[in-house]
Symmetry: D3
Subunit: 294 residues, 6 copies
């Protein structure tokens, strides 16, 4: 699975270097005093999980003239002690980039690992429900966090406010109950044919109200398990002659997700995947001094 | 405690708006179709903890012409249901900014809450140890994550590679054991008088070796509790006629931190504070439609 | 119809000011010598058509402290001599911004006018075909050109490569005829549920091949009118139990579009709308000197 | 004729990549699923005209690691079917860059073709009048549009407000008729010796008024053909002992330009060259799959 | 004399704030601990000279919400103790901006003062020679340094490589002596009519060679005083029927400039004005605490 | 001595190219007309002093594809006529970059030369006082100016407001005399352990007041020589059991610095080093035309 979204390296470099610059507004006041020689270093796993971010940190290190050999593909399962990258370059450059590389991998691998574990639980349950992310990402880091969800086997969901029409509680509040019918009747005409339309409902009565308007996707927000079952039934009836996808969201965590493994649900989306991540731990240690001039 | 680091609003706005732009490269394809009227909305806590980030989201919302009344100060303890911000503005603007505001507060408050809980445990133990962060922050978001540590009562530690001289394992590996004495002897002369010098050691023997070179701070990395006690003794002897600070780091978590409550330690630093944060949950709901033209 | 995509003014300002800066890297070497007094100026139409861009040039002028009163809404029909904006501000500022304002309006109004004329011809023909743009926009100016299509009553189509899955000739060439079936079979599983899938076909035989894979949209590229009729028939059969949209594209111009007014087509897309635009002409003249200090 | 203004590639790359980024805020959601292999592609002309922009799209493609062999020089006449560029690279990269490359060439070649056709009509008429552009360019794209005018054999005219002193109608209105003499008397002293001074006049009486002040260039704005002849006479008298250049502007189009082929005019400037361009059509098709790993 | 080049404040703010950001990558670690109250401060001169930069530092301070009352106009002569700006605002903001404001004024006023002193010496000598700058400016700060020359009464000369055609020694070396005649013969045809053409010569023989080609300006580079006199004579002969301006440059300093006060020279240009500036000293002191909440 | 602060070349390139872009917003209007051939050029010293900036201009030129061989290391003493760089590349590129390269070296070498001369005078006096810079740098150019101080053998002092706690006159004025004791008592607790704390005093009585609060550094601002001697005595007493560094600042110039060569002073800081620099002169001349195609 190749899934770097085809963004050219030279565009990614720019973004990645901004992260490095954050760490050295006026240079490295420690590293400037040490000898600059060619060294070999290893990036190793310290915990088991799914690794994510290797192609990006490779790009970042290569912009500094560091050679990087990737031993493991993004999205693979890793175990403590696994060597993931063999790194050769100037000591001062490797020391400069070390922390940014680790910060990058720690967070993305944490997200991918959590996602994968849920994806596998769905599969083990014999279901075809997608595990999806949300827009609850760290400000400024969404591209990479969504990518980590994909590496974990999840669905990134819409990227941003420009990406899909999704009518939520605050929209409906603004439209008003009275205006809602008119609004929904005209929506398909007003929205570009290139966009899907999803509507979020808070309860079964709202669901019944919006069903006739034929959205591409319906999201049940914070429904009880009982009501989800009722909603599945309602939608299945309608879906005999069309195909509305059903997304369930709100308060789903690794602890309670089992309850949501219900035939008829197409998507389970969890903010948890990005907003409450336990990082995976890695180390980047210089292993050998080649004693050639940097 | 006012602690926004005095960065002028107009500089912060620029950074904050970049986060908003990440969420709408080509505008809001849903919100463009709803009525644009003045509304009142509330930002509420959904969990208890320490709130952090309110001044920043206020600045962000104000750049969009939204009025924001802050009811609670950053760094305060909050409980579920607490109203934190009263918001008035155009419905379309509030819907546009909602997710960015929540993402911001969720993560920062998670960091502040975790930090505060550790700071209070130190205080309850009758100790004066500082709880410090590290550079293990989300790429691109360090300024705010360090700020959240401060709001939690912690010490941000050095901001970046330009901020303090800190000799670590990879430096020493590069210098080589043979060169280390010479390196340390000359270090004070070479480093600007404006910078503190910290040295990280991996074991007691290294500690003994570097003690005569009079660093401002010594960091014990991954020491056993037993060795920490021995290190404290060694340093106390030296400190009769000077004052080296003692930092302990490596694998400290909320679960095991109690073991590190040892007289003689000045700083406990934890990557955990920023790399494995559980977010705090908030909601931003439109409460009332004022029915005046947006 | 309010359709500025809800991008906050402060974000638009930044983009708009870049256009102004392009026109004055080191300031205005003529305007610096003239008296700076408050003046009133009028922006007037010199041709008839659909005006587009007024809200943006208003935002731009207001960042310079110029007051702008809008007399006509974006998307309205205008006639030569119509006053569109009443402008009051410092003479030197108005002279600085004049050309950028006019360049903006000229191009966007040209696009909107052309689009509207086609949209009305469709309506006059009693059809519900959408007139859509393409990605054939001026580099760096897409947001505004797509907006002008919407102001003209057209559909902007997908914004960019991140916006919808659209399989085209070069993709199919790369996949190879042999691999195509497998590729299409797996596509729905691999693509995020939030995205529509469109497939472009070059001939009827390709159309038949891809029909079973159930894309959301099919694009007929450079089809003869005769083949379009056959394609419509084929798709209508399939659409009895589902709903694939039909887009026709390739070489459509205002001159030949009448031939494409065929029941069963949902979308006609034209690069012509943005790549071969005749501008609409406007003037911005200072009308009165108020003789108060600038 | 090499005429890329000597801007270093690395500076151009930055600008060109911004155009590419506009087309893929979150990557290429289609191309990410196709096989990534080395392929050969051709860029071909689909219409006859003057090609312009090849060096720039070559630079852009090379930043993505694509090899580009240029078969035709910028500014050359091309015919339908001509192969202009031979391209080899990864399929996914070529697909990513295809649209941006085409958009670039389409517009610039349209401008160059139109300009060249007018330049040749001047030459055929046995005259030495320059065909010049204006500042009526697409916001954000002026550098390239002015370059296309030069490739067409035209004169780019001043680049921006910092580039030449040009007194126009709004300046004179602001100065007031009474102040004009004083203003013109002092102008040469106040303007840097490095700048030319041009004055635009609306009628013959204005022309007579400003002639004594010895501008480097005079622009006749919207003059009738008859009045242009009278103006030429007036200026020729003055030019016996100096050399004022004569520019004519306002409403000149390819349709009426023949009327302006008048001995004594030095420059004819047309907004038309950039604001109402018919694009030239090109195609970029993958021709061969090399089946080596991308 | 208003001479800020009409660049809108909002564009200048952006540039000015970059200078401020350079001084506080992570905020003000001192100022964050002091009380934040409204205060009054004064910006005072500590040396006599020509003040320059006041409008810019006013704009900068105002972006921070500080009120600034300007008591003296840019370009005025000031004496030690003169109050130039009355400043009121939050103590923390004034402390944040203090150094950037002073750095700005110090350098610009140094340049303006040196320029003015030379301009006045020319005037005292009863001559009309312009004192001009060069492109020998501090990287990144040219706009303001050229502005300071203008405030001192000097001529900024061309702004950059895009601003005027100036043939120098390295060009001629590249063209070769053999090609020079052809090059000069065709130059007027190839250069846009909107640009002046200047040629630099190293000796009298070169001067004679280029005289027939009718440049707008000739620069004598590093000529002896004797040769300058000869050059003036040669040019005066030619100028009976045209008007070539004469610029003299190379090694001119305040110490030796008197030697260059020669009738017939139009411009004396000195790198010295910007590359070897003695700053003017100012102070910005808080004068009164208003004890109202910041 | 390698002292480029380890900032990766690719980050430096970006900054350096901004300086180049400042000099060519729309390209090089002269160089575009000359032949483009491979040439060899030399960068030579025209004055004696300490060279500084060579690694940076090498990086800049290499981004343009120019080969640069460095014959002299940054920080070395140079004499008129010394060849510092051998340069080979396209004539048009070398001409484009020439001025930016020279501007860079001129200013930095001026700073390094001045610094070195003072450092050597200290050494000749048999003292170990550091010569330090200040924040009185050219806006936007601080990184390089501080680097030049280091190359001259000086201490850069704190880089910015984020870099060290330094209590100055305006802070104390804001705190008020009454609040000062409390402020100082709590300061150590509030400041991160990673920062040094310096306090500036205006007179001996202030010095006595702050001595008990144990700052890391004390700065005597504008003290008379006599008072400096008294201050040294006071601090020496305290320093028997701790080690406060003593910095002296205010009005120190190369002319009067000898008076400050006083045992007990640790640092002499001079704004003069960066705000009143005499540039060092260099030339960059094309030496040989290789007549191969550029």
């Amino acid at each position: 699975m190749v899934c770097m979204k085809n963004i050219p390296n030279i565009i990614l470099e720019k973004k990645l270097l901004e992260y490095l610059e954050e760490d050295m507004p006026f240079g490295d006041v420690t590293g400037q005093f040490i000898p600059n020689t060619q060294v070999i270093a290893f990036l190793k796993a310290k915990e088991s999980g799914i690794v994510c971010g290797l192609p990006y940190v490779k790009i970042l290190m290569e912009t500094l003239g560091i050679s990087v050999k990737t031993l493991v593909e993004d999205g693979s399962r890793i175990e403590p002690g696994d060597i993931l990258l063999e790194i050769q370059g100037n000591s001062v450059d490797i020391i400069v980039v070390e922390r940014t590389v680790l910060n990058f991998l720690m967070r993305l691998s944490g997200i991918a690992s959590q996602t994968r574990s849920l994806v596998e639980r769905v599969k083990d349950a014999g279901l075809r429900i997608r595990i999806a992310g949300t827009r609850k990402t760290t400000p400024g880091f969404r591209f990479f966090e969504k990518y980590a969800i994909e590496m974990g086997g999840g669905d990134p969901h819409r990227w941003d406010l420009s990406d899909m029409v999704l009518i939520k509680e605050n929209h409906i509040k603004t439209i008003g109950e009275d205006g809602l019918n008119d609004f929904l009747k005209n929506l398909h005409k007003r929205v570009s044919f290139s966009k899907k339309i999803e509507i979020e409902v808070e309860n079964l009565s709202q669901l019944k109200k919006i069903l006739p308007y034929n959205p591409d996707i319906i999201m049940l927000d914070d429904f009880s398990i009982e009501d989800i079952h009722k909603a599945v039934e309602l939608i299945e009836k309608v879906n005999l002659k069309q195909k509305i996808l059903l997304e369930v969201s709100g308060g789903i965590t690794p602890e309670n997700i089992q309850n949501y493994f219900i035939e008829g649900i197409n998507i389970l989306s969890l903010g948890f995947l990005t907003h409450s991540v336990k990082s995976l731990d890695f180390s980047l240690k210089i292993n050998e001094i080649l004693n050639t001039k940097g």
